[in-house]
Subunit: 222 residues, 2 copies
């Protein structure tokens, strides 16, 4: 295989810890973990359903709809101001601890990008607030395609935007369905399996698996 | 609106109780409910992901993959014979208690069909073992389309197969995403909300909502 010349990272759950919204969840419920998990599960579910129905709304809208459903489902009362603060938390998610140093180390060696379901505004806010912006050559959103992962069209966008052959791009994600989707499309894929979870049984496996992103340089031979 | 001339029912979760696999689950775990819920959630998730990836496998394969993943996820040991028995349970799911009498009563008044993700073999087995077969004019599977709900193409299949105008078909489902998908396509939709759950926040609402299927004749004016 040709050398890796570019790395595209998934954003939510991979670079950014979506459960860093927990502090904001604590403001409305005694069980912030339940809300955070329900919110995240519905957020993904709604991306799949909207993409499959051909009824795209951007990730900000989907995230807000998932939050409102989750509050109803868990019978949590929240004021509009509280909903607003929960949503704002998505604009300043914490990166996982090893992320800044890892991107800084990789940055001189190959082109780095984000390939994400996030809307352009959400992604810009997240890369700015986290300090990751200087290390990223491209921040690529599904928004121009008006669909969501794992639609193969999304994975096709990475190498086209980065201007390199598809087989020189490594895609890194913590989300099992995203790993499967990228692999089904034909990218080289690294699964960052932080939780030691089983791989989804969808017929595709990653090329390499790591537990943390700082294992990537060694795993990809960079 | 024109009168309802045909009713298409979702199968799993609507006519048939998917959690009637619980007895088989009890053979492999002390917490059969956890396995049953995880299995069902993954089964649906895999249909959405495969449809979105354009990687159709039939519902039997998807159901089996979801079972195997769920067993690993919950760290449940099961022999191949036990996996076989869990899968067999899907061929003889119990109908919800009011279903046989409801279909029997509706049968002389309008055309009845199933419109389901299930493979033709699974659906035939379920309608035969449940005794519902004599009341159903059509058993319609997504299999000929090689995609899954809520792809709009699936809902388009109902009236075409039944040979009636789309606006004379009522679609009945207990699954919130399925209600939304059918409504987004443009069918008249009845949500059988057995659990009193909140509706998914995907921008579409059913025309009528019932708690049990025996409320349908009144709700649809039949």
């Amino acid at each position: 295989m040709p050398d890796v010349r570019a790395i595209a990272f998934d954003a939510y759950g991979t670079l950014f810890d979506v459960h860093s919204v927990m502090a904001a969840c604590r403001e409305v419920t005694a069980d912030p973990e339940a809300l955070s998990l329900q919110w995240r599960a519905k957020q993904l579910e709604y991306t799949w359903l909207r993409a499959l129905m051909g009824r795209y709304e951007d990730f900000w809208e989907v995230t807000q709809a998932a939050l409102r459903f989750s509050l109803r489902r868990l019978a949590i009362e929240a004021s509009e101001a509280q909903v607003g603060r929960l949503m704002e938390a998505y604009l300043s998610l914490s990166p996982f601890p090893e992320v800044p140093e890892t991107l800084k180390a990789l940055h001189p060696r190959c082109a780095l990008a984000i390939l994400s379901n996030g809307s352009p505004r959400m992604l810009q806010a997240a890369v700015e607030s986290s300090g990751l912006k200087p290390y990223l050559h491209h921040v690529i959103s599904v928004d121009s395609l008006r669909t969501y992962k794992p639609n193969p069209a999304v994975y096709d966008l990475a190498h086209k935007t980065m201007g390199v052959p598809a087989n020189t791009v490594a895609f890194v994600s913590s989300n099992s369905f995203d790993v499967v989707g990228a692999k089904a499309f034909g990218l080289r894929v690294c699964w960052c399996n932080r939780a030691g979870a089983p791989l989804d049984a969808l017929g595709f496996a990653p090329d390499v698996t790591v537990r943390r992103l700082d294992e990537i340089p060694k795993a990809l031979g960079l």
